[in-house]
Symmetry: C2
Subunit: 627 residues, 2 copies
Amino acid sequence: MGLSGLTVTFEPDGKKARVKAGTTVLQAAKEASVSIRSECGGRGVCGKCKGIIRSADAVSEMSSAEKKLLSQPEIEEGYRLSCQTRILSNVVVMVPSESRIEASKIEVYGVERKVEINPLVRKIHVELKKPTLSDVKPDLERLLEAIEEQLEIGLLEFGFDVLKELPETLRRSNWNVAVVLWNNRVINVESGDAADEMFGMAVDIGTSKIVCHLVDLKSGETVAVGSVENPQVLYGEDVVSRITYASMGNPNLNSLRKLVVDGIDKVFGEVCQKAGIDPNKVYEAVVVGNTAMHHLFLGIQPKYLALSPYTPAIKRSICLAAKNLDIDSMNPRGVVTTFPIIAGFVGADAVAAILATGMHESEDNALLVDIGTNTEIIMGNREDMICCSCASGPAFEGAHIKDGMKAVTGAIERLRITANLEVEYETIGVGKPRGLCGSAVIDAVAEMFKHGIIDYHGRFNPNGTTPRLKRTDGGLEFIIAWQNETATGKEITVTQKDIREIQLAKAAIYSGCSILMKKKKLSEKNVNTLFIAGAFGNYINPENAKVIGLIPDIPTAKIKFVGNTAVTGAKMALISRKARKSINSILRVVQYHELAADPNFNSEFINALYIPHKIIDRFSSIKKYLL
Amino acid sequence: MGLSGLTVTFEPDGKKARVKAGTTVLQAAKEASVSIRSECGGRGVCGKCKGIIRSADAVSEMSSAEKKLLSQPEIEEGYRLSCQTRILSNVVVMVPSESRIEASKIEVYGVERKVEINPLVRKIHVELKKPTLSDVKPDLERLLEAIEEQLEIGLLEFGFDVLKELPETLRRSNWNVAVVLWNNRVINVESGDAADEMFGMAVDIGTSKIVCHLVDLKSGETVAVGSVENPQVLYGEDVVSRITYASMGNPNLNSLRKLVVDGIDKVFGEVCQKAGIDPNKVYEAVVVGNTAMHHLFLGIQPKYLALSPYTPAIKRSICLAAKNLDIDSMNPRGVVTTFPIIAGFVGADAVAAILATGMHESEDNALLVDIGTNTEIIMGNREDMICCSCASGPAFEGAHIKDGMKAVTGAIERLRITANLEVEYETIGVGKPRGLCGSAVIDAVAEMFKHGIIDYHGRFNPNGTTPRLKRTDGGLEFIIAWQNETATGKEITVTQKDIREIQLAKAAIYSGCSILMKKKKLSEKNVNTLFIAGAFGNYINPENAKVIGLIPDIPTAKIKFVGNTAVTGAKMALISRKARKSINSILRVVQYHELAADPNFNSEFINALYIPHKIIDRFSSIKKYLL
């Protein structure tokens, strides 16, 4: 097909194909190396090859097979069958998760510190004396006083729903009930004696994924984990496009809110089913997420997070009844607690990360880098912490990279260039590679630097003699995998532009670290631990991260990969009052530093664009690779 | 018409007529002396003569005039036009308030003690600093800290609705807002500077009437009063029939709840309109009522109030957002506060009465009698109070009395029998009398006793010679008004049965007072004040009340009529934190005494059936009337 063809873009991966008018979406997907489920071979029978197309004019009319196989709500949302839909002009196709055949490598576990099991949710069995003519104490007071006596606490609160049902519940259960408390509030009164069954959810609402742990609140153990794609990806992969959509009005805001609530309901339902737990026995959900996800989840207009000075609506933690947030898949009277946030771009997930690593309890100085599209950096100890957010961009997630992709089946996840400039690589899943995920791009840049294929400006050495160095219209490229090695039959390469993207991203992160270290008057030597968090962090080669100058030059022995600290921090708060209380001390000591307002940022950033850095003395351990 | 006719009962007055089949409801109403509006003379044109008939089979089919003049919701509720509807069998017709032409004498004012104006609602003007890159404090914290500084208070709470709108409200109003607080909770944030306009409602939900004061919370003054019939009368005049209806299931409970909320919305709307006040500026409603009304208003099943041991669901005060109770005619984020209750039959209205009279603050002993279908009696002082409830029945409201009626236009409200046994009386409104209201029945019994027409057993003296003493099949009757004096053309009389009803009612009240006095070891001499409260109390002749032995023999100078203390107690709590706080001290000192469980009750009651009492020494001041 020629350059005069039509462009089809497949989301959420952002893969593109150029095809002739009349090509089916399924054919175009193959062209673009996007895997879409199809069990009938494109005959319009299996109904598995669903795609969402929001510009109906860009494709052929709906076939009778589609009308038969798609539900009315699906049709209204723009669902089509890829094998039936022919492309008429440039079009974007969203491939919903149910139509994908990739297993994404999403980190659902993170480092977890031991805490005393003492959740805010309590469930106790209470037996009441029946009222008589000489003891006419009203039902509520009878119940609360019995609980107060049993638990030796005072001043209980109660939910209005509990009160409304109380006369019937007490008499139906013959004055013998299981009472659920959240802190000092009675949230549910149940007939009988099921005082053992109490569960909670720890939830991280990520921009891409919602990850959840179902936790037994008696034992503190995770009994099931689950994750779903954040359904908001329909309105854009990144935070900014969702904020833009929401800021166009409350109906938009509400539909984004509804999507994330649907996603939460879906993953809650899945983990409960997996563990065989009645969702009505789930009494609390502790929710973390970046500030935009937090605002969208609560239905707060996030517009001003994207406008200078990037002010969030609220900092503190809030607690609401599940039913007030329309969450259906837990006890409706259960409590949903959001973690507090620090700033517009340092969200509840960062607070959870601090809690999970325990850096707020230690005298030692730690540096925490939570890598994502926005990278949060926190530095300090229990006395004093400082944090910032860097716009590191999506390059480390494989976006904006010619052959980049997410860490899903078919991605090369690590690689090494040998002395004779051959490339050895490992691929996720079985089968041939289709592209490079973030950790492999870091490896590629680092290895090319070590072998002199690129210089400290990030430029290809024009005198390179390896056949892997290929000259194209767009400049030089380095071939990681030859045509015959790949699933697509095309070479997988790293381009000059890819290297520039990585330089911009790593410079953003490094200059954030560097500015915080300066503010705290600390050098690399004073950092006792460097925590690397984030769904993607665990797969990075720390040596190579230092070679490209992504992180400060801290001995590898001091680097800890801590995984999905957002969800484990949430879990700690869920099961431990002490951990929850310590969130307040985190908020007290952590200061937000706005990089956009820092006078040194520009020069720091420019110096950090070099590999590993303009001031090479900052990377002594890397000097050995310098030619 | 003969005795073989059909019986039509008109509610809420309970008037009956016997009519031939085929008579229109409007004709039957005239027969029964029930006034129904009719502007077209019964031609089916004006649509004013509405009545509600719930047994559709008992009347003729709907005419085309009715179909035209009644709305669909009215038709569904059983509305008919009285002039079009012919009676086919025994039937009950509810005359809705809009079809009545009577002005009811309902006490909407009560005694009011001066209190410092310091309502829980506050409204202040706050100017905020705009956020900048060097001051990125989140919106909520920016607002709360500014309020805390301005008011010199800490630890403010806030409504979730406030938070959700906050980013937009702050920016739209250019960081210049009016903030409404309820206690230490921010309930509303309004653009601009309307910090002067704050109002509240004091509401008494009576079994018959909902009475409301619209209060300016800056000045503490009532700016408008209003009252509407409690729309629950559709399901019965008395508390027990409504409890019975509600106990048949939650849909019934909910429809009773909806009716009272509709009534509240109606009267709130009326007073706001009367005073020219925007309902959104009404930020709190303080609600009192007897325990059954309280439970029905909150949607709590009242079934167990009517079953021994008559246990209420809750004692303490509760506060909810107006929108959570579906109240539309005030600010939806405003707070609805219910007064606490004391027992199943000593409700929030009794607490309000104590607050209004101030008996809980005085060293002197007081006796408070709040007369109604249930009469609440409270005795004591600031150290110690005791209370009980007596089933005094509806006789004092004119029910169960042959020519009894409510204190509405056409009712004789007071009367005197002269030395030559003539009767002088006063009627409410202009025009001829149609019956006797409660105060006149008391007068009649007392005057007949004073003149020897009845003896101390309450029996007519069979040797009486006045022509007003009339012998009927049912026994002797005393003629209060001759045929030619009345609006109905029939005599108004007091029957032997009427006297028995009054004796039962007054014995219930007196024995309650007597038992409490004994429990407190107090005699009439130690009672410094006797407060008589209740919508009907103000019109009683206190001398005659003592003659019949309705109240203890306390000097008239010590008797104070205090009117509708329920609504004024509510108003005091609305405008004064101190008054509201003192409710707690009331609840601490007041003890409920269950008369049904008192071993002396039966003998006390039997002795109290005599006029004034079996033990005449208890009524020394009455001895002068004894022959």
